[in-house]
Subunit: 396 residues, 2 copies
């Protein structure tokens, strides 16, 4: 079903996408991240960069030994070729790459690839089996289609900042680039779904993934609350839009999270805290009642929690089976024994980066992965492999 093969010496263990050929015209984050997921799972990914500076993100820190960790993180395992699509020779090579690819990924503003002769209509006409994935700020349709966007612009417009932060406080952007990454993850699943569809129908497709759609789709409780009531939700603090108790709570030394998302867990929680009366208190009978009275409930729980340190409560609630936890720093999270056991920090060409969360039995989950390429590192080899062959000029 997959149209290409690879026998490079630095091939990782086979993944589920082994044999897939991906041409990655994308830059910075959402597109490269989606294509990296395909590479992590075994696909061969060829990154096309502009000559000279290449992907902008080669200039984004943090740097280690002069190399960008930002670039390395989302381009590991890829090959690089520098192509100027306004040069006729390079254009022929780019067309040859696209013609032989299973998947093309790009994240230019809608219209840019068309002007280069690489729009989805032209490429799908030439290669009907191609899965052509566009990722853009607002999508290839609708009145905002031509707006330029980066992650923060989309986060701001998606409503996610309006619900993040404490009531009455400043609007806060989540500390991770969730608009880029959510779009990348939808693209990853969309591409693999489209390849499954192709296996049935023989036809590729144009995937049109918008960072805005992706981020709006994450609003979940906040969006549902607005759709149900017409009331515009404000910042939720650390509480939950539908469930209580499901929040952070102050202990004597610091805050912890506690999530008791059903009646059984609520009864276990209040018993473990020495407040068994709350389990039969009419104010807190059922999740809906607890959510409506969540401030009152939080205050009652904190009276007890504030009498001892977080460690004592976490131990006691763990023992009882109540979901709870500390609030960890990045160093604690990335450096945790669980992250280590799960290979969530890997090495790619001597640079550390996050591992692959898709763990699949029967496939390798290597702790050492192939590096991100230098600009045009595989340029000559790729020109030889995909360029016009001298043999093709002679008789077959």
């Amino acid at each position: 079903m997959l149209s290409s093969n690879r026998n490079l010496p630095d091939t990782p263990g086979p993944g589920p996408l082994d044999g897939l050929l991906v041409v990655d015209f994308s830059r910075v984050l959402a597109g490269p991240f989606a294509a990296m997921m395909l590479a992590d799972l075994g696909a061969r990914v060829i990154k096309v960069e502009r000559p000279g500076a290449g992907d902008d993100s080669r200039g984004y820190g943090p740097f280690l030994d002069g190399r960008s960790l930002y670039f390395a993180r989302v381009n590991r395992g890829k090959e690089s070729i520098a192509l100027n699509l306004r040069d006729p020779g390079d254009l022929v090579l780019a067309r040859s790459l696209a013609a032989r690819a299973d998947v093309l990924v790009e994240n230019y503003r809608p219209g840019v690839m068309e002007r280069l002769g690489f729009g989805p209509a032209a490429l799908l006409a030439a290669s009907p089996r191609l899965v052509y994935c566009s990722i853009s700020g607002f999508g290839h349709s609708g009145p905002w289609s031509q707006r330029p966007a980066y992650d923060a612009v989309v986060q701001g417009m998606s409503g996610i900042m309006a619900i993040t932060g404490v009531e009455g406080g400043a609007r806060v952007k989540p500390g991770v680039p969730v608009a880029d990454l959510a779009a990348g993850l939808y693209a990853f699943g969309g591409i693999t779904s489209a390849l499954l569809g192709r296996a049935s129908t023989g036809r590729g497709t144009h995937l049109d993934i918008a960072m805005y759609d992706a981020t709006v789709s994450l609003l979940e409780g906040a969006a549902l609350s607005f759709l149900a009531t017409g009331t515009d939700p404000g910042p939720i603090g650390n509480a939950h839009f539908s469930i209580a108790p499901f929040d952070t709570f102050r202990c004597r030394d610091r805050e912890i999270t506690i999530c008791a998302a059903n009646d059984e867990l609520f009864a276990v929680l209040v018993t473990a805290l020495g407040l068994p009366g709350l389990a039969v208190d009419a104010r807190f009978a059922g999740n809906a009642a607890r959510h409506a009275a969540r401030d009152e409930l939080k205050a009652e729980l904190e009276v007890v929690l504030l009498t001892a340190d977080a460690e004592l409560w976490l131990d006691r609630l763990d023992l009882a089976g109540v979901p709870c936890g500390p609030i960890c720093s990045v160093a604690e999270a990335v450096g945790s024994e669980q992250a280590r056991a799960r290979r969530m920090v890997i090495d790619a060409g001597g640079l550390p980066g996050p591992g692959n969360p898709v763990k699949a039995s029967g496939y390798a989950d290597p702790a050492v992965r192939r590096p991100a390429p230098e600009l045009d590192q595989q340029g000559s080899a790729l020109r030889a492999e995909f360029g016009p062959s001298p043999r093709s000029a002679g008789p077959a």
Copy 2:
């Protein structure tokens, strides 16, 4: 390649996953969300619920006409059967469902499905082509494997709360359930990737997706900054870990986002603000210098921005092509003309919910989708379809 077919009268237009049979043993959010993505793209998804109350999330608000929007949002398009896996007859039916499925999704704590006789080892031994997807708080390996978890617990432990919020302020949880949804999205892409792998190898797999892995993998700049320097990053406010200017900025009436992620955009930005000197200012030469001096740069830009209202600046920067935007409420985002044009609010059985961000040419993106099921709504029909057939007792 896909082992099942459907010819129900309420079948939506074919999607890329048409013909796929998914059995969904999952509850609440991450698992149901992953399975819903498969349903949205055409798969037939059969949700197995416990008799009596069914999925906990049937009790989560908001409610419309007594129906949970929470449940409806992530279970649309599915069929429901109530099965008690401790009842021998129901167990036979569940085994029959699993034996005929392409995909099984579950999000119990590791070990629970094993104790029910439905662990991945047993099911993959019986059905080597099955893609068995487990989603759990911390994964099926590592020292924290048995910790119970909901979204807020994982968000707190993943480091994401430590970097969200203003410097010196409280630790803030992003207002969306990003741990659940990121795990669901990795599961979605992992499942479809595994199905592609199965098409090549003939073998299924056990996917082991952890909400913790998924959330740690999103830390991006914060994690890279820690890995590069060993310094534990604190809250980043609305700034970016690697790029500047890439932040919120105060205008006379309110804040806007501005993202100038390369030298060209920076020059265009400062020219549009009437500060062309900054483009050749040595303090701001190159992204790395701008990022190091980002507080100083922000102050210089705000001196000008504070002289007029947001609308003027957004118009001017839009015209110049600088990515920027307002900070919108949930009502503004969900109700926007772009969300409408992109069908990002759909109707499922009379209840509104977010649309599907995976837009694929050649496949339908219906604005009206099949509803989430009542508990055991398709129970009788599914018992007839998957139960022991009277004919199978007679001669073939």
